[in-house]
């Protein structure tokens, strides 16, 4: 039923600064890589059309600022995400440690319908660099503890595993969207309430 409709999948890339979020996105979308570091300010998205399970879907990939000082703006764009990509740098242990807080914050701000089963994908980036600080095993363990998150080791510089990782991301996102649609479709003659204006929280309409 949903197959004819144009499908837009919203993917959000999170992680500490300089782990390679922008590079991964650029490598995937336009197959370009630059060694120069340029901090992302604010946020922006790129789109790419891909075929997943014989369906053409549009991936809307949101790249975000990892640096604290560029995070003063809000994250309303987390809402309605279909998949969240967590990125860390395999040569920088701190970027691995902060994965938990990235994941927690995302779940709170995005408040998905079913947080336990919301699709995350973990990317260990910069595998072309030495020395490694986080082993594949350690990353895998973390993934298992979080309800079996898929894990990919990538190199945005070499283009290693990037395509495969994003394909998995797209698949997971599509599955997530379908499950949400199924939820809607349980009752065929539904009345959708989600888009109507709820009383605003500003308190103007509050009786107390």
């Amino acid at each position: 039923m949903a197959s004819r409709k144009k499908i837009l999948l919203k993917v959000i890339i999170l992680g500490d600064s300089s782990v390679g979020k922008t590079s991964l996105m650029n490598q995937y979308v336009s197959r370009k890589f630059t060694n120069q570091y340029k901090a992302t300010i604010g946020a922006d998205f790129l789109t790419k059309e891909v075929t997943v399970d014989d369906r053409t879907v549009t991936l809307q990939i949101w790249d975000t600022a990892g640096q604290e000082r560029f995070q003063s703006l809000g994250v309303a764009f987390y809402r309605g995400a279909d998949c969240c990509v967590l990125v860390f740098d395999v040569t920088a242990p701190n970027t691995f440690k902060s994965l938990d807080s990235w994941r927690d914050e995302f779940l709170i701000q995005a408040s998905p319908r079913d947080p336990e089963n919301f699709p995350f994908v973990l990317l260990g980036n910069k595998v072309d660099l030495e020395p490694r600080a986080i082993s594949a095993k350690r990353a895998q363990q973390w993934c298992q503890s979080k309800n079996n998150i898929p894990y990919f080791e990538t190199s945005a510089k070499e283009g290693l595993n990037v395509e495969q990782a994003f394909l998995a991301i797209a698949k997971n996102a599509l599955a997530q969207q379908n499950s949400t649609i199924d939820l809607y479709n349980e009752f065929p003659d539904q009345i959708k309430l989600t888009n109507t204006q709820k009383p605003s929280g500003s308190g103007d309409s509050c009786a107390c």
Binding site: A43, F45, L73, G74, V75, A76, R79, Q197, G201, S202
Partner: protein
Amino acid sequence: MNDIEEDNNKWAASSDATTFSEKASLSEDLDSCLPENLEAEELQLALNKEANGDELSKAINKCRDLILENEQCSFERKWLVRHLIELRLRLQEYKEAMEDPLHPRNKNSGVSNRTVKGHHLKLQPLLRNASYKYCDHCTGTIWSVVQAWYECEDCGYACHYKCIASILRECAHVIACEKGQYELNICPEVGMSAQKYQCAECKAPLILTAPSGITSCLGKLFLPDKEWSDVKKCDYTGLYYCSACHWSSSAVIPARVVHNWDLTPYLVSQASLQILRITANRPLINLEKLNPRLFSLVQELNLVRRLRQELQGLKKYLVVCRKAKEEHLLWKCDRPHLIDNTDMYSLQDLLDTQSGDLLTKLHNLVEDFSTHVKINCEVCKGRGHICEICQNEEILFPFVSTAYICDKCNSVYHKNCIARVRDLCPKCDRIKERLLKESENNNNGE
């Protein structure tokens, strides 16, 4: 002895003034109408154009012939005689120019730009009939048809070619740039004695007392309107000037606006006028620092401040937005400082605050910007906040009046919502918890 000298000065001044007014009326006639009968000859009379020697000689001959052709005492004849005089003057000037290798009208000289006292003087073309120009140095009319004249590209100082060498006034642009701040004391008078009874600009002696006796009577008879005292005070600098440096022009005084919200123009010297004129649009007044109480006293000012704060909040979004950059949204304002900061005002801003123009301008800007951020732009909308206390889907922006911004973690909530949880920011709580856990883990590890 002194008295006599002073009298002489007076006489000199008054005779100057007479020739001055005569000249003015003559030029009025010349400018206002070329007699109808002579229209056919217009092209041959070298009217108001930069003619060379040959052309001028030809025009002089033509003019002479025409005078003889016209009736005695006729309007045409009078006009032609005056024109003939002018043409001869111009020819004279042209000849001088050709002899003087530095003269600007000498095309071979290449001197059309001069730099004197910080002024960037540029040779000016002939003036249109409608406007009179007076020399900022000698106060005489600039007869652009016969006199080469210059104007400073930075401050608008205008003077004759012959006056360039003796310019006293520093370029207002240079002064304004060096000082970078207005005089903020209201009319800081030091007194004439401190000025040694000299004009603050040209150092000419200032005459305090009106001349007595017969000279005074005659003077009053000839020039009843002319005030005898030559001394004029500039309300901006608080200093005294002679009438050559103070033309009784008026301007709004920044200090009076800042301290008294007094927007009436006061008499100022020419030097002050030029400074105030070129700085009118520069954001030099930090009202927040100089007189913050003004905001509570002047309702319009308070509104302006609120709108500027809102613009600041909107700007945060626009500077990081690709689409806003492509649309040059931030550059659409003709007064960039309004968006750059909230504190700095130009004198013009304050005048426009009073007239209401600034409020309209700011309203429009806020409207444009918020349409982009709140409605048109996917990215900016995405960068809004969702109040995690009430979990309402409606996107909340930090610049709206109902928003509360946590000063520690920059999270944004509804004001009412944060009040409900007794001002305890949930995100700050989480950050604290995480830190605690981390330190526990570290301790355990050790």
